[in-house]
Amino acid sequence: MAATTGTTAPSQGEDSVPGSARARKKPRRSYSVGRSAVPYLLVLPALLMELLIHLVPMVVGVVMSFKELTQFYIRNWGAAPWKGLGNYRVAVDFNGAIGHALLHSFLITCAFTVLAVGFSWLLGTTAAILMQDAFRGRGFLRALFMTPYALPIYASVIIWAFMLQHDNGLVNHVLHDQLHLSDKPAFWLIGNNSFVSLVVVSVWRNWPFALLVIMAGMQNIPDELYEASAIDGAGIWQQIRRITMPSLRPINQVLVLVLFLWTFNDFNVPYVLFGQSAPPAGDLISIHIYQASFLTWNFGSGSAMSVLLLLFLLVVTTVYLAFTSLRGRRTSNA
């Protein structure tokens, strides 16, 4: 989905030399050289808004993270005493209670993200490959598969919370009463099973997005490739391996990154499933920071954790983009 930066990148060199011979040689494209104020006026509203909703809060957030910001200073946070790197030191002190809990939550979130993204991608790819050709009922199935994604998150997660109830839930009814798979009904919303519940609900909700994106990507694969390979005697499995998967690589790189960021930052699913305090096995990082900030009213500490989270995501994303050489690939395609 990183189309914008990639496709605009090659045009950078030209506008820096507006008066040069090269720019003058192209009178037909004069309106796109942009010596005028027009592009700036067009971007201005967005720029002001970005400043207001992103830049200012981020600066405030970073400043907050250096302060001893407890409930006494909420109404006048400027007066909160400085704490320097204290909040950060506590957050990364894995022997201390706060740091230990943060590390635990971070590791849980990593495991959750790998599983949830992996299964969402796998399910989306499988369904997209199976639905590539027309067959009766394809349109209906597509609408059905999209429904979990279209439902408001809180509504769909509430349904799962009901299904996972210990006494009157569908899951225990099927597993215990009907299939006799367990000795006694399991708890799904507390204890270690809550991790499984999180993964299942997250996959149920997000895999249709993977399906949507992969199906859109498949539309761009020319039919001739399949026809030619069929004439050459390639079977379906070979076509999937040699044509479909390689053609989908650029789109998969973007899809996996987007799914990773959404899943890692997810607040909605654990919050609606477990309420304000998640069980340890389902204590995802967003919930953890929320609790540290709003339940114990330690905003300084919560801000430091947020900044650490952001730094982690920036590093991972940068490494990922460099590793997949996403931008280079995109510019050469454009």
């Binding site: 914008t4 942009g34 967005a46 992103h54 909420i74 590539q132 709003f294 947020s306």
Partner: protein, 287 residues
């Protein structure tokens, strides 16, 4: 949808049977919670508190009447509609101009602008929640303008995710519209704004619709900001549905009926406009 079909190189029976079995299993997984929602919403409370029943023993529409009295659902509905619509409208409006500039002009700082917009996409909501909360509280103390707890305040916080997304998607979509179209309009005497309104926007309708639907859905679903930034009168559906759980009982049948009622507008909109969404995604994101 005719696109995506490919010439029928006949599939072996093994593939067709694999397809039938796997797609059936996935369909059950996808549909199960939807079935639970619908069937539970039609049961009386005593049938919901005991063992789960696959087939409702006694059908009733009572929960659909009660949901409006147990919690002020209508008010939450109005709040959610106003907040989601305003956040969507505002971000699409601002994004159309910015996306047009990014897709059509070269200007200094463009790269920084696009990278900034792109990267704010990945920031966790919690990162903005704490500072915005403090800023709103302090603005309220200093000026008396109550942003914290107000709909306006919630709309502003929703722009943190809907605006970058809208700019990003629309810029990608507009890139796919041939530049010759608006260049011709300019030659015919349109100004940049004329070309935008007469040529680019009409051509970008599928992209704009996709972005608007998506932004609306995201706002309608939002839980984090809504649970912190609202009060009793401005509460949205996302928080309001919790009202069906009391200290003693959870009215699961009403919870399901209310979930269904709040889902119908967005699911219907999504399924109706799915076609546009795929087009928008293909051009804007996948290109």
């Amino acid at each position: 949808m005719p696109s995506g079909y490919r010439s029928p190189t006949a599939k072996p029976m093994s593939f067709i049977w694999t397809r039938r079995i796997v797609l059936t299993l996935i369909a059950i997984f996808a549909a199960l919670p939807v079935y639970v929602m619908i069937s539970t919403s039609l049961k009386p409370l005593q049938d919901v508190t005991g063992k789960f029943q696959w087939i409702p023993g006694h059908l009733t529409l009572r929960p659909y009447v009660d949901i409006w009295h147990t919690v002020p659902l209508a008010r939450y509905f109005v709040n959610s509609t106003i907040v989601s619509a305003a956040a969507t409208g505002l971000s699409v409006l601002i994004a159309v101009f910015a996306a047009y500039a990014v897709s059509r002009y070269k200007f200094k700082g463009k790269r920084i602008f696009t990278i900034t917009v792109l990267s704010t996409q990945m920031f966790p909501g919690i990162l903005f929640l704490l500072p915005l909360f403090l800023i709103f509280v302090n603005i309220g103390n200093a000026t008396g303008i109550a942003l914290y707890g107000s709909r306006a305040g919630l709309i502003i916080t929703y722009l943190t995710f809907s605006l970058p997304f809208s700019i990003w998607m629309l810029a990608g979509y507009m890139e796919s519209i041939p530049k010759g179209l608006d260049e011709a309009a300019m030659v015919d005497g349109c100004g940049p704004l004329g070309a935008l309104f007469r040529v680019v926007i009409p051509a970008a309708v599928p992209g704009i619709v996709a972005v608007a639907v998506y932004a609306f859905m995201t706002a309608w679903s939002e839980v984090l900001f809504a649970s912190v930034m609202t009060n009793e009168t401005t509460r949205t559906l996302a928080v309001g549905l919790r009202g069906y759980s009391t200290q003693y009982d959870v009215y699961w049948n009403q919870v399901m009926a209310a979930s269904l009622v709040v889902s119908v507008p967005v699911v219907a909109g999504f399924l109706l406009l799915q076609r546009y969404l795929v087009t928008g995604l293909t051009a804007g994101a996948v290109k």
